[in-house]
Symmetry: C2
Subunit: 470 residues, 2 copies
């Protein structure tokens, strides 16, 4: 069935609602009302751009969000359709209290099967890397041995700004980019720059444990805000801690549930921040890795009020032992961050910064990400199929459109922590979703990464091992 275009896209260029949101609202409304049904085709972005005379970026933003939220699906040659089998999704996490304390963090000495937080180690272009490393080491000049520039190597700040403008839709200049030695350091620097002890900060629940541990250790009072199928529930945050000064969120793929923050939520979050003078940390740790549509633009690309502090890292797109990350701050905060960096500095070595700057400049970075996206799509499919086959129909595998791990849910009553402990004894890696939940509430589930699973058979064999341990 062809889409009734003109009815859907009666846009109002004079309205205060931005055009991309009008498009998003129209399509979502049409789906909700039944005017567009699962399987129906929606016009291609290219066709719509021409027809409506709006910028291609506007359509991309709307479609990207609809796709991220699971409303539409790209089908290659067959065009884009409303997702077959689409229905209103229930909240992923049921709020439920437990008193069990969180398990201690665990870091193995070797790389274990299914280990989270790692890119595909066999997919990294090590030869190119070693050649650049050798070249940079040989090219070291006297000035390169002195204390590196406090805010980061100018060449790297420039490459990062260019990359973010092109790939993440962020309108930023090199002076807004500060180089750090990892997300944790970024968080301590952000906390110093915009918070004081006793301030409150929203964190996602479930959410990345190091973020709340750092805030906590720095005397910030953490307000856990629930996450549902549209990401952090902004209204709940406003109810729980309206005067919070910071919100730490993972809009692209919520960590760990991998859902994308919906457009209404994005706008509600930005509104709240603008009205209350709060800042938002957008932790975009793996925003590049989406498999069913192009990557979503960053939350920061919608920010008109200078509230979004964008935190990026090379840990996932290159590798973790590089210890290289960055933070992009609104122009209004540049001076404040410069002050903080005068005292605490970024501390990334000149060598790693200059290797990465060259790696990006020479095009290896963009090629690597593109190759990894295809690689991960393949490995993810293998892993979903292989684990599914081995674990049987009772297991539910959440397949969100992006991210670097899967979420396995078993039927009946079970303890994810106990299974994780058994798996580690058996040399397998997994994390327990309850450990990612504040105070251990939240449904049990296994978090496992597919990035280093290299075949369907391997996935099936891993599933068989897990099955034996259940």
């Amino acid at each position: 069935m062809a889409t009734p275009r003109h009815a859907l896209f009666a846009l109002d260029p004079a309205a205060t609602t931005p055009l991309y949101r009008q498009i998003y609202d129209r399509i979502r409304g049409a789906i909700a009302s039944g005017a567009l049904k699962p399987g129906d085709r929606v016009p291609s972005a290219r066709a719509l751009t021409a027809e409506l005379g709006v910028a291609r970026g506007t359509i991309d933003a709307a479609y990207g969000l609809l796709s991220a939220e699971g409303y539409i699906e790209a089908r290659g040659q067959a065009g884009t359709v409303v997702t077959p089998g689409l229905k209103h999704r229930a909240p992923v996490v049921a709020p439920r209290l437990r008193s069990e304390p969180a398990a201690p963090s665990f870091r193995p000495d070797t790389v274990l099967p299914l280990q989270m937080g790692l890119p595909a180690l066999d997919g990294f272009p090590r030869k190119i890397w070693a050649r650049l490393g050798a070249r940079r080491a040989r090219a070291t000049q006297h000035i390169d041995m002195a204390q590196p520039p406090l805010f980061g190597l100018p060449a790297l700040r420039e490459e990062v700004a260019t990359y973010l403008r092109v790939s993440r839709g962020l309108d930023c200049s090199p002076s807004q980019v500060f180089i750090t030695s990892g997300f944790r350091q970024t968080m301590t620097l952000v906390t110093r720059a915009v918070l004081k002890a006793g301030d409150r900060a929203w964190v996602e629940d479930p959410g990345y444990p190091p973020a709340r541990r750092i805030l906590d250790a720095m005397g910030v009072r953490v307000a856990p805000v629930p996450v549902d199928s549209e990401g952090i529930v902004v209204a709940e945050g406003v109810r729980l801690a309206p005067r919070a000064k910071l919100a730490v969120v993972t809009p692209a793929h919520q960590s760990p549930l991998s859902v994308s923050l919906s457009l209404p939520r994005r706008l509600a979050l930005l509104d709240w921040a603008a009205q209350s003078g709060a800042f938002i940390v957008e932790d975009d740790y793996d925003g590049e890795y989406r498999y069913v549509s192009r990557p979503l633009p960053a939350l920061g690309s919608l920010d008109r009020e200078g509230r979004v502090i964008y935190a990026g890292t090379f840990s996932k797109v290159l590798f973790p032992s590089l210890r290289l990350a960055y933070v992009v701050v609104p122009t209004g905060l540049i001076e404040r961050f410069e002050e903080v960096f005068q005292v605490f500095a970024g501390d990334a070595p000149e060598l790693t910064q200059s290797i990465v700057a060259a790696f990006i400049k020479e095009g290896h970075f963009a090629r690597h990400i593109q190759r990894m996206r295809a690689c991960y799509a393949q490995r993810r499919a293998w892993t979903v199929a292989g684990l599914g086959q081995a674990l049987g129909p009772g297991v539910r595998i959440d397949t969100q459109p992006g991210g670097m791990h899967l979420i396995l849910r078993f039927p009946g009553r079970w303890s994810d922590r106990r299974l994780v402990a058994r798996m580690r004894d058996d040399g397998l890696y997994a994390e327990a979703l309850t450990d990612w939940s504040v105070q251990g509430n939240g449904s049990p589930a296994l978090l496992v990464s597919f990035t280093n699973v290299t075949s369907h058979d391997e996935a099936k064999a891993l599933g068989t091992r897990i099955n034996r341990l259940r």
Copy 2:
């Protein structure tokens, strides 16, 4: 005149005073009483070792301290003598209040003549470094790409422990060594590990500004303690802030006055810490670089109560842009530091850690330090002579037995800040001693480094330029 050995060295092995201190006390007492006069020979360490039947290390410790404090001088073939012209030294810094705020920190984009904080950039074995760098980059295994071990690469922790045992007299195991990305990061981690907001900490006045800025930014109340010719005046610290929980000191060469902390002060400091339950940060940033005797053993080598936290860095012995440092903690604090590193981590890349581990293991590190010691002795002599000639007899150049910079004092009333500003306008580097003093008190003086001055003529030319700007 021969030394009356037996009278001097009637040691009491049963006394609670350690033997090396008995030897130190005897010689210092003999000098004070006039029994030993300037120019008198003292027995060689080797002869005394044989004669008294004590360990060579015991004699070395006593002589090292006496030499560091300026009481005795090694004269090569001529043996060791009581320093000619020795008299009781007056305090270096007269306490004097000023309300002028400290100048902002300055970091040039290029390397300027006389720039402080830099090793001899032309003396670094860049070819060896590049070869190791290339080799390590090529040898990267999958496990090396994962998050590096939280407390540091085991190979590097081991090399550092071995090095410190041999070169700095520190009795430590690899599990006490934690790798960080610089002295600033070390300070933030130490603060988290042993202090809470509102605690007091002694800092040296004058002293390294970043140390007190970090403590200050972390909510620690800083107590500036004056420094005289024997280092930090411990009695003043006890008077000003007896219940401080931390003392940050630079015992080898006080930063910036380059005086060594005398043995009585070392013992008083350790006593105070043991009795009050405080910790001492020994910032040993350039302990290797002494020119008139062998390096002093570290303060930590005298610590029997587990109060000394030893902070080392590769910034001076290798180069600053490496961003690699370490902290050695008493065994009683290992667990506490492990907890802190779980949250905040060390964040040094695997690549730089493994290059440095190889650099030490293969002997390049020890050779480099030895070569640099000779190089700096030469450049220091050139600089003292060249500047002295150009600046005339009115200028006083403090020549302490170690360190990487000189202190120039001009006669009459003058502003070191104003001269520093004029020098920088002219492309010359210097720092103002008043900027290193808390609240800007302290005598005016120029701090200039000799590490990159490569000839007497160059030093003289630089002196002529400074003279024109006075």
